[in-house]
């Protein structure tokens, strides 16, 4: 186990170095003069020269890389061209919003997905099974951005049940602790803010949850079907255990392992969906941040965000893998 973790950590370092090289070159390969990107279109030659000096842009490219990496390791990801703020601060400011949205989505997706998958497997070839499978087919094929728009049209514009976008209705006060508004309102026992922030979260959360929900349902179904065929289930039925106990106490528990992996994998993929969801629901999170930065050619933001995010993603994946090995010792410790 120790050896496995060490090996994975070693690999992690290699991957992160690779990520940093790719991130660095990606933005450097972009057309245009990086000094102009940093200083803006109308900077004087003197300012440009100062910037080149400051950011070592006159040095060979690999030297520039090391300067950039050293700054990045110290937490300095540069400044946004648009807002002139530090990229790292802007990222940290937006992180809780995206975290709240993705966690909310993955919880909805897991609960509904597992339930639907179990029902589908237990009642295989029933109407419920076909219903779940057709629903899952629609789910994995869903253009999230379109679903989001349709949800807004129906629930916000036509029925007036939910707000069109944003996180909190203006006028509602909330003390910021974690930056996750639903959690903050619970911590401060602020009922109106809780209801309001949840109302804002429900549509984007549901839109973002669609694809993972469908994937989890499919995975649960096939995993359950496999488990239900196994000998120990037959033995338990033969022992006279109630069907309910066989399914919920024994089968589901065993079917859960591959499902946990799928949920872990989907968690990272949700970030891609968050770009779309946050854009549609005008939520000030990381997804909208990077989409806006790309459209505005805000290269320092793109670079800083990509590095930050890839690091987070790789570390989360590693943790998931380690937890996974820990839960199920049958997994071979092979990278």
């Amino acid at each position: 186990m120790k050896e496995y973790i060490l090996k994975r950590l070693g690999l992690l370092v290699i991957v992160l170095i690779g990520v940093s090289i790719i991130t660095f070159s990606l933005v450097r390969l972009a057309p245009g003069d990086p000094a102009v990107h940093l200083a803006g279109e109308h900077a004087s030659p003197q300012v440009l020269e100062n910037i080149r000096e400051k950011y070592h842009l006159n040095d060979p490219i690999y030297v520039q890389y090391f300067y950039w990496l050293r700054m990045a390791l110290q937490g300095d990801l540069g400044r946004s061209i648009e807002s002139r703020d530090l990229v790292i601060n802007e990222i940290l400011e937006r992180l809780p919003m995206t975290l709240e949205l993705t966690l909310f989505a993955i919880v909805i997706a897991s609960i509904i997905g597992i339930l639907a998958g179990v029902i589908s497997a237990v009642k295989q070839y029933s109407i419920a099974d076909y219903g779940v499978m057709i629903g899952a087919l629609f789910g994995v094929s869903m253009p999230v951005f379109w679903l989001g728009l349709m949800l807004i049209y129906i629930f916000s514009l036509q029925l007036g049940l939910t707000p069109v976008g944003g996180r909190l209705t203006t006028g509602i006060m909330l003390e910021r602790i974690t930056g996750m508004y639903v959690l903050d309102s619970i911590l401060t026992l602020n009922w109106p803010a809780f209801v309001d922030s949840l109302k804002h979260l429900i549509l984007p959360g549901f839109a973002l949850a669609t694809i993972p929900m469908a994937t989890v349902a499919r995975m649960t179904r096939s995993s359950m079907l496999e488990v239900l065929r196994q000998d120990f289930i037959r033995t338990e039925r033969a022992k006279g255990l109630s069907e309910r106990s066989v399914i919920y106490k024994h089968a589901v528990k065993n079917a859960l392992i591959p499902i946990v992996t799928v949920i872990g994998m989907e968690l990272g993929m949700l970030m891609g969906g968050a770009v779309l969801t946050e854009t549609i629901f005008t939520l000030p999170g990381l997804g909208k941040y990077i989409a806006d930065a790309i459209l505005a050619y805000d290269y320092p933001v793109v670079q800083g965000f990509t590095l930050f995010f890839a690091t987070l993603f790789v570390v989360v994946n590693l943790i998931t893998d380690i937890i996974y090995v820990y839960i199920d010792p049958r997994i071979k410790y092979e990278g």
């Binding site: 390969l29 951005f145 349709m150 807004i152 096939s222």
Partner: protein, 301 residues
């Protein structure tokens, strides 16, 4: 009769058996049928479309379609904000969205096959190096990477194709690699080696044909997500540019007019994307069951 003539049974090739199984799979056949219809409609857009996709007339802006009395004859799905016929734009737009998906997939298929074959067949340090690069690219969620690459390369469908292609290459390479690894150790490959067959001969005559099953299955399923990504890039504004009738882009423009109650301009491009992706997923799932039962029920990638 079957028992009397066993040779005839044996003569059936694997392709024939697979096709027979595929024909029995109703989901796959329905998916295939829907795909064929979509392709015919989009390729034949100049024949089927009632209007030119860029026929602008502000006087007929945002008119509803057949379901409303306010609709105008000849515009069954209504018009968009510039008075263009939505049905015609859907047909022409499909050409753009679907071809971005196809070209991206073709890129990933060629690059991924070459890389995967090399990695799997050569093994050793080449394999480790290539797989570590794949790991690095896997460090980004697909859409996010495509967005960043497309954003860096610049706007336009050619960049979107390349960006999505790059993103899918490592996935393809991994699939090929693992197929190669499972075939490489088989005895008949060893026999070929001892007979003095060259590496290329073995790869192209034996390894590649035997890797075809997972390749076809995953290509179909990947094409589905590639099309979703193509539309997403168009929606975010880094893919197709106006006045292209691309589905994602049409959606993002129509989005502004939802408040006015003109739901049709945003609804139909989304349905078009959904139906195309559903048909591909149906075909892909069916192919998986027919070609490679071992993959049944597994995770997508």
């Amino acid at each position: 009769m079957d028992n009397e003539n066993p040779i005839e049974v044996k003569q059936r090739t694997r392709t024939e058996i697979t096709l027979k199984q595929l024909r029995k799979n109703r989901t796959a056949m329905v998916g295939l049928g829907m795909l064929i219809v979509i392709f015919i409609l989009c390729i034949g857009a100049p024949i089927f479309a009632p209007h030119a996709p860029d026929d602008v007339d502000l006087d007929r802006g945002l008119k509803p379609g057949f379901w409303s009395k306010d609709g105008i004859a000849g515009y069954p799905l209504g018009t968009d904000n510039l008075g263009r016929d939505i049905l015609s734009r859907l047909l022409y737009g499909g050409r753009v969205t679907l071809s971005v998906g196809f070209v991206a997939l073709a890129f990933a298929l060629v690059a991924g096959t070459l890389l995967g074959l090399t990695a799997g067949y050569k093994g050793g340090i080449i394999d480790s190096a290539l797989m570590r690069i794949a790991d690095i690219l896997f460090a980004y969620p697909a859409l996010l990477l495509a967005l960043v690459v497309a954003g860096t390369l610049g706007r336009g469908i050619d960049k979107a194709m390349l960006a999505i292609g790059i993103v899918y290459t490592p996935q393809m390479a991994r699939i090929i690699r693992s197929a190669v690894l499972s075939i490489k150790e088989m005895e008949y490959i060893e026999a070929e080696h001892s007979l003095g067959a060259s590496d290329w001969r073995i790869v192209f005559k034996h390894v590649l044909p035997n890797s075809l099953a997972p390749l076809i299955v995953y290509s179909t399923l990947m094409l589905a997500t590639a099309i979703l990504d193509a539309a997403a890039l168009g929606f975010l504004g880094v893919g197709a540019q106006p006045p292209s009738p691309e589905w994602g882009l049409s959606l993002s423009i129509a989005r502004k007019y939802l408040v006015t109650g003109a739901w049709w301009a945003a609804t139909f491009p989304g349905i078009a994307i959904l139906i195309s992706v559903i048909s591909l997923n149906m075909l892909g799932d069916g192919l998986r069951d027919a070609l490679d039962p071992r993959l049944k029920g597994g995770t997508k990638i």
